[in-house]
């Protein structure tokens, strides 16, 4: 009985080892396979121009406005979601809720008020830390750049 059990354990281990080895090999050559990216590289944020942002916008990317809700109310990119970075606690909570409910296949573009505003980077960093690792971009020139390029902006009086 013991011999039978130990051969069962050995066979199971062999099967699992073969599966893992084959899986990694197939994944390497698979045209739709995953590529291993170091966490360090993964965390680097991608800055994009307003023109690139427009292409993503037309392809259905989700824009995230990291500014104050009041300012967001005055003007924002149509379809954008507002996740303010302050107060921090509330912001983290909204990030978590957002990541739970969002469609993971959509690309994310974060923006704020131009190059020096910084809150888009803070928010992008929070999204990363909350577990989001793909398709995250920051609109470098922010809303002012977007507006001056003549792209759509939703404004209220």
């Amino acid at each position: 009985m013991t011999g039978e059990n130990s051969s069962l354990i050995r066979d199971t281990a062999i099967l699992l080892a073969i599966s893992v080895f084959l899986a990694l090999a197939i994944n390497y050559f698979h045209p739709l396979g995953f590529r291993f990216v170091s966490k360090k590289e993964n965390r680097s944020l991608a800055f994009i121009s307003v023109e690139e942002g427009r292409i993503k916008y037309d392809n259905g990317a989700l824009f995230i406005d990291s500014r104050d809700p009041v300012i967001f109310g005055f003007s924002h990119i149509p379809g954008a979601v507002n996740i303010p970075t302050i107060p921090e606690e509330k912001s983290l909570e909204r990030v978590n809720v957002f990541l739970r409910t969002m469609d993971r296949s959509r690309e994310l573009v974060v923006y704020c008020d131009g190059e020096g505003c910084g809150s888009s980077e803070v928010l992008a960093e929070r999204l990363f830390r909350a577990g989001y690792g793909r398709y995250l971009y920051i609109l470098k020139e922010g809303l002012p750049g977007w507006r001056s390029a003549g792209y759509p902006v939703e404004e209220s009086e």
Partner: protein, 176 residues
């Protein structure tokens, strides 16, 4: 009473029925492994939807699980290392049943991503439901049956055993 006992013995010992179940389940695993392997990205999305492991882990599962299904399925169909394959299969079924049950309890409804039947052109919805849990439970018990069965007809294991006995000098008659 004696008939019942002998029937149970017969079922337990392994017969054409166990062979059909074994090959059928193996083919099922090969099929479901291949459809998942065709598009690992989509399958990673399915794993994420179950919300049972951290999202970062989903790609690893999407890489390994389909291939494991294909390997186990092949072993079952050919009849190599049948007991170990059945054991791993049972473990997989427990994982599937747990994942679906927990999400049913959470009140979720989404496509279970089990067989991707729409790829076959079948317009069948496979949303998670108690029915799917029951189906998987049934499959679990079939694997348990394969695990318990002592011999497997039409398998490489049986062929090797026959060859070994033959080399020992003459095949003894079938055991009583």
């Amino acid at each position: 009473m004696e008939t019942v006992r002998r029937f149970i013995q017969y079922m337990k010992y392994g017969n054409p029925g166990t062979a059909v179940i074994r090959i059928g389940l193996g083919a099922m695993f090969i099929y479901s492994g291949i459809v998942k392997e065709l598009d690992p990205g989509t399958f990673a999305g399915v794993v994420e939807r179950y919300n049972m492991v951290p999202a970062d882990m989903a790609p690893y599962i999407a890489i390994i699980l389909p291939v494991a299904e294909i390997v186990i399925g092949t072993c079952l169909v050919l009849g190599i290392r049948v007991r170990a394959s059945a054991l791993v299969s049972m473990a997989l079924m427990v994982v599937f049943i747990t994942g679906i049950s927990v999400n049913l309890y959470r009140g979720e409804t989404f496509d279970c991503g089990c067989f991707h039947l729409n790829r076959l052109g079948l317009d069948l919805q496979e949303n998670i439901s108690p029915g799917i849990v029951l189906r998987d439970l049934g499959i679990f018990f079939l694997f348990l049956y394969i695990f318990i069965a002592e011999r497997h007809l039409f398998s490489i294991e049986a062929m090797r055993e026959r060859l070994r006995l033959k080399n020992l000098g003459g095949l003894p008659g079938d055991p009583p």
